[in-house]
């Protein structure tokens, strides 16, 4: 993974995050015609022509396929995902891509408005790409990332202990460094506890469980945030220890 690829990914994610911070967004709202202020009665949504509906549904499918392709790229590039989780997510993404593509074909071959409308609704209800699949994928990558960082910290802790033990600094400074290391160890342990079971709680969520499984997604997100805060504290401890030891 080169720097440009990382930068592009971060920029994409930042943009996505910015959208999220702006509050709830109806992802397909842009496709819905805005009410007209004219005196002429506005065309009711159900009066849309079959051809126009097909265009709208195709557009909705294509946007979701774009999101899934981006997610697939993250999954393939992630160095944090376990092999099993990567395989599971790739399988889910692939199934969604296949299913949505087939659904679009079905819609495009529908010969009446009512069945086309019913099929078009399945783009949302059978896949939940934006509200479930996409955040779920990001949560699994983040949760596995926390586990990876925990493992790195667990390798680092004895190294730091050796540095403290061998350091020529005064006993007072050494004691301060040791206190930081103890705090670091405690924070890594807390992060481990927070992240335990998070991936398992979300990776197999399906659209059939919506909206109930939204609770699981939010709970997982909260646990990842807690773990991330602990890891930030642990990282700060490392910096302070190295500073104290003059490393």
């Amino acid at each position: 993974m080169n720097t440009r690829t990382i930068a592009r990914g971060v920029a994409t994610l930042t943009l996505t995050a910015g959208l999220g911070l702006a509050g709830p967004v109806a992802v397909d709202a842009g496709t819905t015609p805005a009410p007209s202020p004219s005196a002429t009665p506005t065309a009711a949504p159900h009066s849309i022509s079959l051809a126009a509906l097909k265009v709208r549904c195709n557009s909705a499918v294509q946007r979701r396929l774009g999101t899934l392709a981006a997610d697939d790229s993250f999954v393939k590039r992630s160095g944090a995902l376990t092999s099993a989780d990567r395989t599971a997510l790739e399988g889910q993404i692939s199934a969604d891509q296949t299913g949505l593509t087939a659904l679009d074909k079905t819609i495009q071959s529908d010969s009446a408005l009512a069945p086309a409308r019913a099929d078009c609704e399945l783009i949302v209800t059978d896949y939940r790409v934006y509200v479930m699949e996409d955040p779920k994928i990001h949560e699994v990558i983040a949760a596995d990332g926390v586990s990876t960082v925990n493992a790195t910290f667990e390798t680092l802790i004895p190294e730091l202990q050796s540095l403290i033990n061998a350091s020529p600094v005064s006993a007072t400074v050494k004691a301060e460094a040791q206190a930081d290391l103890n705090d670091l160890t405690s924070k890594v342990s807390a992060a481990h506890t927070s992240i335990s079971g998070v991936t398992a709680s979300v990776i197999n969520l399906t659209p059939a469980g919506w909206p109930g499984n939204q609770v699981d997604l939010k709970s997982a997100h909260s646990n990842i945030g807690t773990a991330r805060t602990d890891l930030a504290g642990a990282r700060a401890d490392v910096g302070h220890i190295l500073q104290l030891l003059g490393e």
């Binding site: 994610l13 999220g20 397909d28 909705a60 949302v124 983040a142 990332g145 680092l156 997100h221 990282r235």
Partner: protein, 90 residues
Amino acid sequence: MTHRTARRNGVLCLLAVTAIAGCATTTRGSAGSVAPAGVAAASAVSTAPPARTSAVDQQVSSIDNQLSTIDAQFNAANAGLSTSEGDPAQ
């Protein structure tokens, strides 16, 4: 004739460069050999950090990269959780 002269000059030039390089190496080597052992050791420490510190640096760098990735994924998930999915059929 000109070609032969050029070749001869080239060989002479190569010999001169080799000789100068050899002198420089000898001079540096003898200066190092007369320097106090403590100076040599200090020089080695300043140019090559201890392996342990280097390993720690690598792990810290790895942690920083991983934390950055977690942040990006965490924020992306948050964006999804703040989204409602409109019905394209309506």
